[in-house]
C-alpha cells in the first residue's frame, strides 16, 4: 500500500484562519455542535421565562432540586428510549410498565412483607423478563416494535389493574422510600451544607478533568490532531462549571437525592455504552442503514434483543424510583410516561427515522419536559395548559433542529 505520511491530505483542505484563530476555532466548534447547543439554549430559555413568571421562585435551589428529582422517572426511561429510537424502533409500553413494575414492588413489599433488597432484585428481574418477551417478538418474530409495544401498553396496563386491584398499595418501607425521597447523608452532621454532596461534586469534576487530559495526552502520543490548548481549556472550564452548578444547587438545598445519583450514573454509563462499545455502535448502524449493517455482518437480532432487555430493566428502575417517591403504587402510575420519554429523546436530537440521537440530549429533553411541568404547576396553571405547552415545545424543538440542520448543510 502506498505509504504516504499519515498526516497528509485531510489536513490540507479548507481551513480558513481569518481573524483571531482562537475565536474562529470556538465558532467552528460551536457550529459543528450546533444541535446539542440549541437544546441547551432552549432549556436555559425556558428556565429564564419561568424565573421571570414566578418572580424568582422557579430558580430557587429548593425548586430546582425538586425539579431534578421529579424528572428522574421519565429521564431514566428516556435514556433507554433514545437508544430504542436510534435503532429505528419505538417503545410505547414503558408507561404501563412503570406502573406494572411499581405494582409488583408494592405488592411484594406491602402484601407479602418482603424486604427492600429482594423486592428490588425481583422487580429488576421482572423488567428483564418483559424485555425478553418484547425483544423476542421484535427481533426473532419480525413483528414491528410499534405493534409489539402497543400491545404491551394495553396488556401491561391490564396487569397493573389486576395486581393493584384498582386500589393504591402503600406504604412502602422506609428503606425503599429513601430511594425516591432520600438525600445523601452528611458526613459531619453539624456542617452547614451537605458536605458529602459537595465533596462528590468536586470528585466528579476532578475525575472528568483528569480523564479528559489523559485522553488528550493519549491522542497526542498517537500523533493525532487535538483541539487547540485554549479551546480545550475553555471546554473543560465550561463543563466543570455546569457540573458545579448542578451539584451546587442540590448541595445548597438538602444534598443530592439518591434518585438523581442513580440517574447520573445511568446517564454516564449509557452514554459510554452508546459511544464507546461495539453494541452501541451497532445500534447506530442498524438504525442508520439496516442493509449496510447486515452486509457488515452485524448480528441485528441479538443486538435488538439486548436493546429491549435493557429497556425492560430501565423501566423497572424507573418504576422503583417512581413508587418510592410517591410512597405508593397505583393503578394509573406511569400513565403517558411513554410520550414524555419519546418527546424527551426527540427534543434531545434523536431522529424519528433512526440512526441519530444521544443520551445526553435525551436527558436535556427530559429536563425540558420536567421544567414545563414544574414551572406551570408553580404558577398554578391547570393540566390542560401543561399538555398544550409540552406539545408545542416538542413541535418547536424539532423545527429548530430541522432549521439549524438545513443551515449547517
Amino acid at each position: 500500500m502506498d505509504k504516504r505520511k499519515e498526516t497528509g491530505v485531510q489536513r490540507e483542505t479548507g481551513r480558513n484562519t481569518a481573524g483571531d484563530p482562537f475565536v474562529t476555532a470556538v465558532l467552528q466548534s460551536l457550529r459543528t455542535n450546533m444541535r446539542e447547543y440549541t437544546m441547551v439554549v432552549l432549556l436555559v430559555g425556558i428556565w429564564l421565562v419561568f424565573t421571570y413568571l414566578t418572580s424568582g421562585m422557579f430558580i430557587e435551589p429548593r425548586n430546582l432540586s425538586n425539579l431534578f428529582l421529579q424528572s428522574v422517572s421519565v429521564a431514566v426511561l428516556a435514556v433507554g428510549m433514545v437508544l430504542v429510537i436510534v435503532a429505528g424502533h419505538i417503545d410505547l409500553s414503558v408507561g404501563s410498565l412503570v406502573g406494572l413494575m411499581g405494582a409488583i414492588a408494592g405488592y411484594l413489599q406491602v402484601n407479602m412483607n418482603m424486604g427492600t433488597v429482594p423486592v428490588i432484585i425481583i422487580t429488576l428481574a421482572a423488567g428483564i423478563l418483559v424485555g425478553i418477551w418484547q425483544g423476542y417478538w421484535i427481533a426473532y418474530r419480525g413483528v414491528s416494535a410499534f405493534i409489539v409495544t402497543l400491545a404491551g401498553m394495553m396488556v401491561f396496563r391490564g396487569l397493573v389493574i389486576r395486581v393493584t386491584g384498582g386500589a393504591t398499595i402503600s406504604p412502602m418501607n422506609h428503606s425503599f422510600k429513601e430511594i425516591g425521597q432520600g438525600y445523601l447523608p452528611k458526613l459531619i452532621s453539624t456542617s452547614p451544607i451537605n458536605d458529602s454532596s459537595a465533596l462528590l461534586g468536586l470528585a466528579v469534576i476532578g475525575l472528568y478533568v483528569f480523564w479528559q487530559i489523559r485522553l488528550r495526552k493519549n491522542r497526542v502520543k498517537y500523533g493525532f490532531e487535538v483541539p487547540d490548548r485554549k479551546l480545550f481549556g475553555l471546554r473543560l472550564a465550561v463543563t466543570s462549571l455546569v457540573i458545579a452548578f448542578v451539584f451546587g444547587i442540590m448541595t445548597d438545598y438538602m444534598g443530592i437525592p439518591y434518585a438523581v445519583l442513580i440517574l447520573m450514573a445511568l446517564t454516564v454509563l449509557f452514554n459510554f455504552v452508546a459511544e464507546k462499545t461495539v453494541f452501541g455502535r451497532h445500534i447506530y448502524a442498524i438504525g442508520g442503514n439496516k442493509e449496510a449493517a447486515r452486509f457488515s455482518g452485524i448480528n441485528i437480532r441479538r443486538t435488538t434483543m439486548l436493546l429491549f432487555i435493557i429497556m425492560g430493566a430501565l423501566t423497572a428502575v424507573s418504576g422503583i424510583i417512581f413508587t418510592a417517591r410517591l410512597n405508593a403504587a397505583g393503578a394509573s402510575a406511569g400513565n403517558l410516561f411513554e410520550l414524555d420519554a419519546i418527546a424527551a429523546a426527540i427534543i434531545g436530537g434523536a431522529s424519528t427515522m433512526g440512526g441519530e440521537g444521544s443520551v445526553y440530549g435525551a436527558i436535556i429533553g427530559a429536563l425540558v419536559m420536567a421544567s414545563i411541568d414544574n414551572g406551570l404547576s408553580l404558577m398554578n396553571a391547570d393540566a390542560s395548559l401543561q399538555y398544550a405547552a409540552k406539545g408545542l415545545i416538542l413541535l418547536f424543538a424539532v423545527w429548530v433542529d430541522i432549521a439549524s440542520r438545513k443551515r449547517a448543510a
Binding site: M1, D2, K3, R4, K5, E6, T7, G8, V9, Q10, T13, G14, R15, N16, Q28, R31, T32, N218, R219, Y222, F224, K276, T277, V278, F279, R281, H282, Y284, A285, G288, N289, E291, A292, A293, R294, F295, S296, G297, I298, N299, S351, G355, E356, A408, A409
Partner: protein
C-alpha cells in the same frame, strides 16, 4: 440585469460554494454553447456534482457566490422547480426514483397529468409509453421501480427528463452503473436528443465515452475550472493530466501474480430467487479461487454476477443447494457474520443501500465490520479507530476535512473509497469486489488497482466483478464469464479478448 452576448445557452460565472468550512468550489466558470454536448470532468471531489446542484437550484441562490445566466438572462433559482421552468432537467448522480412506486408514477411525479386534482391514468400511461420508447425501454408502465435493475432505472430517469420537454439536460455520471451495451445505448440516446436541439451537460469518469460524444470539455480540479477545450483538441491522456495535475503513464498496473493453493471452492451451487421462489437465479455454479490471484467475473447485467457474490457471502437467495468451502471450512448459507469471520469480504456494488451508513462519519463506517478487532472487554479503543481510519484516508486519498465528516457529505467517489476501506479493515482472505471502481476517477482507479496488487501479494484472493471489460482484461489473472445464471466460460487472461468475452456473455458460444 445586464445581458452578456448570447453565444451561450448557459453561463456560470465565478461560482464559489463553501460547506461548513470546506471550500467545495473556489472559482468555477462554465460556458455552454447552444445545442452542444458539454462534458464536465474532474477527480472525485473536484466539485462537479456540487456545481450542477447549484445550477439546478438544489442549492438555492444565496447559498453560493457567483452568477448564472440562461439564454443571456441572469437567474437566481430558489428551487428545482424554478430551474425546470427554464427548460432544465437534471439527473442526479444518486438516483432519485421512489422505489415503491411504478414507472409511470415516477416519471410524472410532481408533474401529474390531472384534471381538477384527479389523475388521468390513461393519458399518463400513453405518455409514459412514449417517453419509454424514446429511451428504448420495453417496460410495462405499471412495473414497480424496485423490480428494475440499476441500468433500467437510469433510463427511466432520462425518460422522466424527456417527458418534461427539457431543453437543457444535465446527466451526472449516468453510465457509472451501466454495462457496456447499456452505456452505448444511452450515448446513442443522448446524441439523438442533441439532434433534436437539446443541450446536454454530461459528467462522467469514463473518458472514452466523453471523447466519443462531447463537443466541448471542461475540466475541474479542486473546485476550479482548469480548462475548457473543444473535444477535437483533447485526448484521454491530456484530460487525465489536466484532471490530476500530473502524467499517468499506465492505466492498469499489471503485475505477475503467482497463484497459490485453492482457498475458495464453490461446488454445484444452485440458488433460487428469494422474491420469486420458482425462479432459479443461479444454476450449477462451480469454480475455484486461488490465493494470490485476481479472478475476474464478466457478464452482462442480469447474468447473476452480484447474485453469485451475495449467495457466497450469505445475504441472498433461498432454496440454496451445493457447497461452498472457504479455506477448507464449509460455509453455511445465509450467515454473512460467519462468512466474514472465516475471512470473506464483499465490497458491494450498491454503496448507498448496503455499503454505507450515510449519516455516520467516516471512521465509524470504516470500522463497521471490524469493531471487534479494536475492542477490549467490549469497549472500543478510540485511538485505534482513529489510527486505522487515518491510515485509509491517506493511503486511499479520501478527500475530507476530518474523520468526523458524515459520509453523506463526501463526493460519490470518495464514498466508494470508504466502502473499500471498511473491507480492507477486516483483513479478508478472499475479497469479492463488485464493480470496485464504479464512479471513481482515473487517478483513484489506478490507486485501487495498486491496492489490489498489494493484497494479492499478501496472498489474498480477489474476485473482481466488473462491467468494464478493459478493467477485467487489464487486471485479472483468470476470467469466468456468466450468462443467465450459469458460468459459460473460463479462461486465462492471456487467452481472453473483448470479443471472446462478449460472445460468451451474450450467450453466443456454448461452453466448449
Amino acid at each position: 440585469m445586464d445581458r452578456i452576448q448570447s453565444d451561450y445557452v448557459l453561463e456560470m460565472v465565478g461560482i464559489k460554494k463553501e460547506f461548513a468550512g470546506v471550500k467545495a468550489l473556489e472559482d468555477v466558470n462554465l460556458r455552454v454553447k447552444w445545442g452542444e454536448v458539454h462534458a464536465l470532468v474532474g477527480e472525485n471531489g473536484a466539485g462537479k456534482s456540487t456545481l450542477m446542484k447549484i445550477l439546478s437550484g438544489m442549492y438555492p441562490a444565496g447559498e453560493y457566490e457567483g452568477r448564472i445566466f440562461i439564454r443571456g438572462a441572469e437567474q437566481s433559482f430558489r428551487s428545482l422547480k424554478d430551474s425546470e421552468k427554464t427548460g432544465m432537467a437534471i439527473i442526479f448522480q444518486e438516483l432519485t426514483l421512489v422505489k415503491q412506486m411504478t414507472v409511470s408514477e415516477n416519471i410524472f411525479l410532481g408533474n401529474e397529468i390531472a384534471r381538477r386534482g384527479i389523475v388521468d391514468w390513461n393519458n399518463t400511461y400513453e405518455l409514459t409509453k412514449r417517453a419509454l420508447r424514446e429511451v428504448r425501454l420495453e417496460l410495462n408502465p405499471s412495473t414497480k421501480v424496485k423490480n428494475l435493475g440499476i441500468g433500467q432505472q437510469q433510463l427511466v430517469e432520462i425518460a422522466k427528463a424527456i417527458s418534461k420537454n427539457a431543453e437543457i439536460l444535465i446527466l451526472d455520471e449516468p453510465t457509472a452503473a451501466l454495462t457496456e451495451t447499456e452505456s452505448a445505448n444511452l450515448l446513442q440516446i443522448v446524441l439523438e436528443l442533441k439532434k433534436k436541439g437539446v443541450t446536454c451537460i454530461y459528467i462522467s469518469h469514463k473518458l472514452s465515452e466523453v471523447l466519443q460524444i462531447a463537443d466541448t470539455i471542461t475540466v475541474l480540479r479542486d473546485g476550479r475550472t482548469i480548462a475548457t477545450e473543444s473535444a477535437e483538441n483533447m485526448s484521454e491522456n491530456k484530460i487525465i493530466s489536466l484532471m490530476v495535475g500530473r502524467e499517468l503513464t499506465q492505466r492498469f498496473p499489471r503485475r505477475e501474480h503467482v497463484p497459490g493453493p485453492v482457498i475458495l471452492k464453490v461446488k454445484d451451487l444452485t440458488v433460487h430467487d428469494p422474491d420469486v421462489p420458482d425462479k432459479v437465479a443461479l444454476r450449477g455454479i462451480s469454480f475455484e479461487a486461488r490465493q494470490g490471484e485476481i479472478l475476474g467475473v464478466a457478464g452482462l447485467m442480469g447474468a447473476g454476477r452480484t447474485e453469485l457474490a451475495t449467495s457466497i457471502f450469505g445475504t441472498y437467495g433461498r432454496g440454496i443447494s451445493g457447497e461452498i468451502f472457504l479455506d477448507g471450512k464449509k460455509l453455511k448459507p445465509g450467515t454473512p457474520r460467519e462468512a466474514i469471520k472465516s475471512g470473506l469480504g464483499y465490497v458491494s456494488e450498491d454503496r448507498k443501500n448496503n455499503g454505507l451508513v450515510l449519516m455516520m462519519d467516516i471512521k465509524n463506517n470504516v470500522m463497521l465490520a471490524s469493531y471487534e478487532s479494536v475492542t477490549k472487554l467490549k469497549v472500543i479503543n478510540q485511538n485505534e479507530v482513529i489510527r486505522h481510519s487515518n491510515h485509509f484516508v491517506s493511503s486511499l486519498r479520501i478527500k475530507t476535512p476530518t474523520l468526523e465528516q458524515r459520509v453523506q457529505n463526501l463526493s460519490g467517489g470518495n464514498q466508494q473509497k470508504v466502502v473499500l476501506s471498511k473491507w480492507l479493515m477486516t483483513n479478508p482472505k478472499v475479497l469479492i469486489m463488485d464493480e470496485p471502481t464504479r464512479g471513481i476517477d482515473v487517478g483513484a482507479k489506478y490507486e485501487i488497482y495498486h491496492i489490489m496488487n498489494d493484497l494479492v501479494k499478501q496472498r489474498v484472493s480477489i474476485i473482481m466483478i466488473s462491467s468494464e471489460l478493459p478493467e477485467i482484461l487489464g487486471m485479472s489473472d483468470r476470467i469466468i464469464v456468466m450468462h443467465e445464471g450459469r458460468i459459460v466460460a473460463e479462461m486465462a487472461a492471456s487467452e481472453a479478448t473483448q470479443e471472446k468475452i462478449m460472445s460468451y456473455a451474450t450467450g453466443g458460444m456454448k461452453r466448449g
